[in-house]
């Protein structure tokens, strides 16, 4: 599959990474090369094969529904780029 500039712009939006118009053509070329490489999997017959998400049995472990942690607002906010009181602060989102 060869990707075009429009698809790159769409992926960039989905991934929330700004890719300037001027870079899209080059990015499309790089990504297409990698896709072409991975597409060799198309030749493997996987009929009836169960997909593997993890080599470890991923059955969810249960624990008692108890509070075991918490109560350290300052540690949680210690690396925040911006904070307001006990909250993370972001630019105004309601136009």
């Amino acid at each position: 599959m060869s990707l075009d500039k429009t698809t790159v712009a769409k992926i960039a939006y989905l991934a929330r990474i700004e890719v300037p118009e001027a870079d899209r053509e080059h990015m499309a070329g790089e990504l297409s090369k990698i896709l072409e490489f991975v597409e060799q999997l198309g030749e493997v017959d996987t009929t009836g094969v169960v997909p593997m998400a993890s080599v470890v049995d991923t059955g969810l472990r249960r624990r008692s529904d108890l509070v075991t942690d918490g109560g350290y607002v300052d540690a949680v906010l210690a690396n925040a780029p911006d904070r307001a009181g006990s909250y993370f602060a972001v630019p105004k989102v309601v136009e």
Partner: protein, 487 residues
């Protein structure tokens, strides 16, 4: 520097800058002396750029405490052992960047499970070692903090060789005596490949043998903590401390390995080692042929016998790995949004602009490529074609290994197709860099333990490693056999 000796794989000279070597001398050479000697090695080897952050004062405080404990007979398992820690382990109060600009200045408020265990065992951290951004790379060229140089190359008078990656800083630090041992992670070869390039030992345990809690995630179903050391014995000592399950990582497994260090004292007895026909029949070079022959020679010398085995789907490991790793990365790295921690772009116009520019400015080229491809492979209409397909092929690869281990105890093949390549060799084509991982990724897909041993010197004088791979949870016996292969 004794890396030439180690690179030749002869190991005849005792190297005191090992955990076991230092222990033998710790009566005359204290933990604080050790920190001083590591500090001077780091200072004189500054151009290597093995560390992103060093914490010499903290290390000296820890060492003083260790010395006191040793004097009073209260020394713990790794008391005073000076370790470098890959900068993708969260370390409380010490900057942790994962080699990314997006985490510059990030100070974890907690200690990773594995580093906590090391600290509790008395280990002394000298600093955080360099890596390809988020573990994505095979050369450290993708670090936002500059590449690490290969100390074996330096010993030969050249600064052109990469140390391998992503744990290039950990491997270089150990090879250059800038730590007795180093912690690292391996998602697709990031422990074993740099160990091969720097002439040291790199051990990736069974997936699930250690907790991933506090390790900055790249591809969660593949990421595994492990160690880079100069000897197999040192790897065993560290494994005895870091292995274990943890309620905070539901993929960590409570398994009784029966003591890694202890297992080295048992003679390994008879064993069989399978050589995959699919790798043995690949086009080869004189260097690679040399590694193959050295593997076979050492297996025989250690009392093992070699036989060919079939792993029919193993040739699809690289594309399978890249789809799965990139898909998981795109999901894991969604957390870097400029809101709660990490880099935030200046003057965002709105929330979308804040996300898009923080991530565009904070991530490096390769990371962006991987996130975008992973996003594409998971997007509506392509999920089955790419991601689900790769998960199915992963099952087939896993089953191939399971069948092989019905016939043989271990498998072996070279760690890397070539010795260390030069900086810039793969700039033009990312896929050519991915091909460097051909011998390492199959192991991660199947969650197997594998060790890279420094057994060969290439024609240009640079080291190359051979790998020994075992069934899941065979880690202790694997180390015992690996140890006898290095003798």
């Amino acid at each position: 520097m004794s890396s030439e000796v180690r690179a030749s794989g002869k190991n005849e000279l005792p190297n005191e800058m090992t955990v076991t070597g230092w222990r033998r001398q710790s009566n005359t050479f204290s933990a604080t002396d050790l920190v001083s000697s590591v500090a001077s090695a780091v200072e004189s080897g500054k151009s290597l750029n093995a560390y992103i952050t060093t914490t010499p004062e903290r290390a000296m405080d820890q060492a003083r405490h260790s010395t006191e404990r040793q004097k009073s007979g209260a020394g713990r398992a790794l008391e005073g052992v000076v370790i470098g820690v890959k900068d993708n382990f969260c370390t409380a109060d010490i900057q942790t960047t994962a080699g990314s600009r997006i985490l510059e200045g990030f100070i974890p408020q907690y200690e990773s499970f594995v580093t906590k265990k090391l600290l509790d065992a008395g280990a002394v951290f000298f600093g955080k070692t360099n890596l390809d951004e988020f573990g994505m790379g095979s050369s450290t060229e993708n670090s936002a903090y500059g590449p690490t140089l290969n100390p074996c190359g330096i010993a030969l008078g050249s600064s052109e060789f990469v140390p391998g990656g992503s744990s290039g800083g950990s491997a270089a630090a150990v090879a250059a005596d800038q730590a007795l041992a180093a912690m690292a992670t391996d998602t697709g070869g990031s422990i074993r490949q740099p160990a091969s390039f720097c002439g040291v030992v790199g051990f990736k345990p069974t997936y699930g043998a250690c907790s991933r809690w506090g390790i900055i995630a790249y591809a969660s179903s593949l990421d595994q903590a492990g160690v880079i050391t100069k000897t197999v014995g040192d790897a065993a000592l560290l494994m005895d401390v870091i292995a274990g399950s943890d309620p905070k990582d539901s993929t960590s497994v409570a398994y009784d390995f029966g003591g890694f260090e202890h297992s080295l004292r048992n003679t390994s007895g008879a064993f069989t080692v399978g050589i995959p026909r699919q790798f043995r029949d690949m086009s080869t070079t004189p260097d690679l042929e040399g590694v193959w022959q050295e593997i076979e020679r050492r297996v025989s010398a250690a009392g093992g016998c070699v036989q060919l085995v079939d792993l029919p789907t193993i040739k699809y490991s690289l594309p399978t790995y890249y789809i799965i790793a990139l898909a998981e990365a795109s999901s894991n790295l969604a957390r870097y949004d400029g809101v709660r921690f990490g880099y935030r772009a200046n003057d965002p116009k709105n929330l979308i602009d804040l996300y898009e520019r923080s991530r565009a400015e904070g991530f490096g080229r390769e990371t962006k490529r991987r996130i975008m491809l992973g996003t594409y492979c998971l997007s509506a209409g392509y999920y089955d074609q790419y991601y689900a397909k790769a998960q199915r092929v992963r099952t087939m690869i896993y089953n191939d290994f399971a069948r092989a281990f019905e016939a043989v105890d271990f498998l072996a093949w070279p760690t890397t197709p070539t010795p260390a390549f030069k900086f810039g060799s793969h700039n033009a084509d990312p896929v050519s860099m991915y091909l460097e991982d051909v011998f390492t990724v199959p192991v991660n897909l199947a969650g197997l333990p594998a060790i890279s041993l420094p057994i060969f010197q290439a024609a240009n004088g640079m080291p190359m490693g051979g790998q020994l791979i075992g069934p899941r949870f065979s880690d202790a016996r694997l180390l015992a056999v690996a140890n006898s292969m290095l003798k």
